[in-house]
Symmetry: C2
Subunit: 409 residues, 2 copies
C-alpha cells in the first residue's frame, strides 16, 4: 500500500557507534511478533527528546520527561509495541517504572537512566511481566548493525519499516546519522509521529542536542498530518554517543553544528515523509505548499486546513479534480482578513484558480492529469506577505476506514 | 442509510400563512430533477439570516448580506441545488444578480428584495439562463402547502428530505413554525448547515427576529459536525410573515417572545439533528455531552475534538469500544491545564474511565453493548467548573468515503 516507499535495505542502514539494538518477542499483544526493543547507549551519550502535547499523555511519556529532567546519563531506551500504556493512570506509571527497574538492574544502573516508550492500544494494562521476561533475550540480541530489525520491531499498523542513514565528515572524521520511526495513524503536527529515534556518533552536548532536535522536529514530524489526531505517545528522540571521536559540539555557534544539524534534519524529514507514504490507507503522497502569507503560522493554518479536510482527502483518493473543495478549505482556515480575490491555486503545474476564482484557461483534463499521479503538490499563493509553509499529507481512502474500524480485532 | 429518520409525512408539514413555495426542473446540473425553489413572502414579512464565516463564501451569500443590509422588505427567496456558485469571482456575482433580477421582474419588485441561495459543486459557472427559463414554472407551482416538495428540491447528497412543524398559541391565535434544511457533508459548527429555512406566521420585527435566529443557531446548526468542513454556502434564514394576525413582537422583552423563540429553536434543533441522522455515510447518531468545564467554550472544544476525530468516528462505525481514542481526543482538545486524573468518561450508562484511567469495574462487554446501538451518548465530566456543552455528530464509514470520492461523477 505504501506510496513509493520500499523497506530499507539492511546494508544501507549504517550502524551508529555506541548504539546497540536488540529485539525480542514479549507477546505484549500478539504472539510470534518481535514487539520489544532495547537500545543500549555507550557511556557519555547525550539524549534529547520532544513529546506529545496531549494532556492524556502516556505513562512512559511522563516518565521520560521526569527522567530527562534529572539529567543523569541515559543508558538505554526500552520500547514496546502493542500497548500504549496511556489512559492507565497510576497503575500505568507503576508498570512503566517496573519495566525500567528491571532493565536498570540488568544494566547495573539507576531506573532513571532507562527511557521507556510504548505504542499500541490505549487504556489497556501493560503486560509488564511478559516484557520483563523477554528482556534477557532482547539484551542478548543487542548489536550495532541491527537498525533494520529494530525498525521492524516498533511497527504497529505500519506496513513498511522506516529507517535511513546519512554520513558526513566532521573535523576529518566520518560521522553517521541513522534514524527510524513508526507511525501510520493518529498523526498530527502537534508534535511528532508516535515514535522517532535518530542517533549519531558525533559528540554533542545535551543543550546543543536539544536545539538540534527542536529544529529538526519543526521541519519534519511537525509538518505532517494523517488524520489530525495527536497521539498520547508521540516521542521523538535524538541521541549523540560521541563514539566517533569528533570534537564535542557544545552550542549552536560551533563550526560543525550546522552540518550535523542539516544531516539530522534530513534524516528526520525522510522519516516524516516515510510515515505519510505509509499512512493508514494512503494511496497518494500530497505536498501542500502555502506561500505569500504574512506569517509562517497563517501559512501553516491554510496548509493544515487543506491537509485535514476529509472532503479534500477523499477527492484525492478518487483522483477527482473537485478542486472547489481546496478553495473552501482555504476560506475557512481562519485568516479573517484574507482577500480571496488575490488567491492563486496551483495543482502540480496547473493554475486552477486565478485571482480567487476558476482560471478561465483551466481545463478539467489538466486537473485530471495531475490528480491521477501518486505524488501531488498543491500550491497556494496568498499574496499578502513573505512567509511560507509546507506540510505533507495523504488521501483518505476506504483503507483508512477499514484499518481503523478493525484495528483491535 | 439515515439513522432513525423517515421522510416527513406531507400532512405533518403545516403551511405557514404568507409563505408560498414552488419548485421546478431547471436542469442546473442533472436532468429530470426538481432543482429550483421559489419561496414567495407576503408583504410585510421580516427576514433574518446568518451565514458562513468561510472567506471563500459563495456569490449568493455575498448578495444576501448586501441585500439584507439595505433593509428593504424581502419578497422572495430563490434557491438552486446542483451548483454552489462559490469560487466563481465577479462572474459568479453577475450571474447571481441576473437570477435575482429575473425573479424581481416577474414579481414587480427590486432585485434587492430577492434573496438568493445556492448549493452544490464549487467553482463551476452557474447556468443562470436555465434557471431563469424555469422561473415561470416554479412561480406557477407556488402554494402554501408545498413544504414537502420544497424540502425535496433543495437536497444534494441528502437521502431524506428534512422538514418539521410546530404550533403554538400567541394571544389566543394559532401560530405555525415550519422549517426545512438540507446538508449532509461539508458540515461544521462555524456556522450552520448548508441551507436552513424556518418560517412562522407570527409577526416579529427584524431586530427581534435576528436575536431569535442567533439564539436558535447557537443551539442547533452550530452544535453539529459531520466532517469539520465549513461550507462556502451555509445560510440559515428565519422568516416571520405576520399573516397569523398576532400582535407584533418587537423585542426580546415582549411577553410572547420566549414561547415563539422556543418553538423556533425546537424546529432548528430537529432539523440540525436530522442533518446528522442523514449525514454522508452515517450509520450512528452520536451525542457528545461535556460537563464540568470552566467555560462553555472549553466544553465545546472537548466535544468537537471528539466529534472531529476520524479515529473515534471509525471506532463508532465498527461498533468497536476502542475507547482510549476518546481519552486521546479529550487530551488534545487544547485545555492546557486539564487535570486528567479528575476526568470521568461515560459511554451511554457505562462508566468507562474513572479519575482519568480505565475504570477497574469496566468490562469490555458493557462497552460493546452500548457501541452496538445506533444512538449513543458520550458523556465527559471535566470536574473543573459549572459549564457544559452538547454537540451531535455521526460515525465515519465506508459510505462517507464512497459518497465523497464519487460525488461529482
Amino acid at each position: 500500500m505504501a506510496v513509493n516507499l520500499a523497506p530499507p535495505n539492511p546494508e544501507d542502514l549504517l550502524p551508529v557507534k555506541g548504539v546497540a539494538l536488540g529485539v525480542a518477542e514479549a507477546g505484549v499483544r500478539k504472539p510470534n511478533r518481535k514487539d520489544l526493543l532495547v537500545m543500549r547507549l555507550a557511556e557519555g551519550a547525550s539524549v534529547a527528546g520532544v513529546f506529545t502535547q496531549n494532556r492524556f499523555c502516556a505513562a512512559p511519556v511522563i516518565l521520560c520527561r521526569e527522567y530527562l529532567a534529572l539529567a543523569r546519563p541515559a543508558r538505554a531506551l526500552l520500547v514496546n509495541t502493542g500497548n500504549a500504556n496511556a489512559g492507565t493512570g497510576e497503575d500505568g506509571l507503576t508498570r512503566a517504572r517496573q519495566a525500567c527497574a528491571a532493565l536498570a538492574a540488568a544494566l547495573d544502573c539507576d531506573s532513571s537512566q532507562i527511557l521507556p516508550f510504548s505504542t499500541g492500544v490505549i487504556m489497556e494494562p501493560l503486560p509488564v511481566e511478559r516484557m520483563v521476561a523477554a528482556l534477557p533475550r532482547a539484551l542478548a540480541d543487542c548489536r550495532e548493525d541491527n537498525w533494520a530489525g529494530a525498525a521492524a520491531a516498533i511497527m504497529t499498523t505500519d506496513t513498511v519499516p522506516k529507517a535511513c542513514s546519512r554520513q558526513l565528515f566532521i573535523g576529518g572524521k566520518s560521522v553517521t546519522v541513522t534514524g527510524m520511526a513508526k507511525g501510520a495513524g493518529m498523526i498530527h503536527p502537534d508534535m511528532a509521529t508516535l515514535l522517532g529515534f535518530v542517533a549519531t556518533d558525533a559528540a554533542v552536548s545535551r543543550a546543543a542536542l536539544e536545539r538540534m532536535l527542536t529544529q529538526a522536529a519543526a521541519r519534519s514530524f511537525n509538518r505532517i498530518s494523517v488524520d489530525g489526531d495527536t497521539s498520547t505517545n508521540d516521542s521523538f528522540m535524538l541521541i549523540a554517543t560521541g563514539a566517533a571521536g569528533t570534537q564535542r559540539i557544545d552550542d549552536p555557534a560551533h563550526a560543525d553544528y550546522a552540518a550535523l544539524a542539516a544531516a539530522v534534519t534530513e534524516v528526520a524529514v525522510w522519516l516524516a515523509q516515510a510515515i505519510i507514504r505509509d499512512a493508514e490507507g494512503a494511496t497518494k503522497f500530497i505536498t501542500v505548499q502555502v506561500e505569500g502569507g504574512k506569517t509562517e503560522h497563517e501559512c501553516s493554518r491554510v496548509a493544515y486546513a487543506i491537509a485535514h479536510s476529509p472532503l479534500v482527502k477523499t477527492a484525492f483518493f478518487a483522483s477527482d479534480p473537485n478542486l472547489g473543495r481546496l478553495l473552501c478549505a482555504i476560506g475557512y482556515a481562519g485568516i479573517a482578513d484574507l482577500d480571496v480575490s488575490r488567491v492563486q491555486l496551483h495543482l502540480g503545474d496547473v493554475l486552477v484558480a486565478k485571482d480567487g476564482a476558476r482560471n478561465p484557461a483551466y481545463r478539467e483534463e489538466d486537473g485530471q492529469r495531475v490528480m491521477s499521479q501518486d505524488e501531488i503538490t498543491v500550491r497556494v499563493e496568498l499574496a499578502r506577505g513573505p512567509a511560507q509553509s509546507t506540510v505533507w499529507t495523504c488521501d483518505l481512502s476506504h483503507g483508512y476506514v477499514s484499518i481503523n474500524a478493525d484495528y483491535r480485532s
